[in-house]
């Protein structure tokens, strides 16, 4: 009688053990959802089409200023005399997404033009552009826009700025938001 009871108990525990095992196999996977993001933008580009050129001129006894507008017109102040030859505003071709807007940033500090054969120099300041600089003023109506840039050149006396070619570089930034 005792033996029979013990065998029964033993079977009972075996069933329990099997239940435990089944439970482990039946564990359901637990999941979580994550979010994926990506921002696609076109490759914007800006290329200089025409270099800024103040043209030929003579400073005269006092020197002065040459104002080059974004439209390419030149006006002079002081004793400067405009010479023969061409002058033009800088122009840049900006390309990207159709109707994309962007901002133009012009140099804020004066830019130096150096005489190619001496240490003499001139300053360019009062930069301006069309479209106007500032947030979102540029717009790529057909995926392209020409940006024209002008500035004012400060010219010294003939002693300060001897005849010759003066060159320099500047940075203009096109910012697509």
């Amino acid at each position: 009688m005792t033996a029979k009871l013990k065998i029964f108990l033993s079977l009972g525990f075996l069933v329990l053990f099997n239940l435990s095992h089944t439970h482990a196999q039946g564990t359901l996977p637990i999941g979580a959802t994550g979010h994926v993001y990506a921002e696609i933008i076109p490759v914007f580009s800006a290329n200089e089409i025409t270099r800024m050129n103040f043209g030929r001129f003579s400073p005269g006894p006092q020197g002065g200023r040459i104002v080059l507008s974004p439209q390419g017109t030149v006006s002079v102040q002081g004793s400067i005399v405009i010479g023969v030859g061409s002058h033009n505003a800088a122009s840049f071709a900006v390309t990207g997404d159709e109707d994309a807007s962007y901002s133009i940033s012009l140099p804020t500090d004066p830019v130096l033009l150096r005489h190619t054969s001496s240490e003499k120099s001139m300053l360019i300041e009062e930069w301006n552009s069309w479209p106007l600089p500032g947030p979102g003023n540029g717009r790529l109506q057909n995926g392209i826009q020409m940006v024209n840039v002008g500035a004012t050149l400060k010219v010294g006396t003939i002693h300060d700025n001897p005849a010759g070619v003066y060159t320099g570089t500047y940075i203009i930034t096109f910012d697509f938001n």
């Binding site: 005792t2 033996a3 013990k6 065998i7 108990l9 033993s10 009972g12 525990f13 075996l14 329990l16 053990f17 239940l19 435990s20 482990a24 564990t27 359901l28 996977p29 637990i30 999941g31 979580a32 959802t33 994550g34 979010h35 994926v36 993001y37 990506a38 921002e39 696609i40 933008i41 076109p42 490759v43 914007f44 997404d97």
Partner: protein, 170 residues
Amino acid sequence: MKQIIKFLAIAVVMFAFAGTVQAQTATASSNAAAVIIAPLSITNTAGLHFGTIMRSATAGTVSIATNGDRSSLGGVTLSSLTPVHSAATFDVEGESGRTVTITLPASTTITNAASDNMVVDNFVSDPDDANPVTLTGAATVLRIGATLNVGANQPSGTYTGTFSVSVNYN
């Protein structure tokens, strides 16, 4: 003949003892079965962001590693403009010392407002989903990266989608 009968009697007694021993062993198993393990949980704590990408006329891919590093192949250019890139993170919690298996999705599709889409695949995780991961008392941080397939002239826009990650006790 008499000897044979005695032998049988002994065998019966031993069987009875054997039964007793087995019953005691089973009691021990019963205690083990009563152990309760903590439920598994997995919580998304950060999304997977491929950041800002400049497309071109050539298709390309952008990959986010599990440490959040970003790389590209083909005709795409990585931009530092916002939104910036990051790997996804999940917190996995469960019974300390237990191992779990991580299951990553094969792929998912993300779309923009104009219903253009891109496929995200080659999901990778740290800890690696190829091996069982042993849980600790604290949350195990799961970092997930993947590869974004950017088409030629992929339309601009913010693309979003979801993916599912699951864990299971071994």
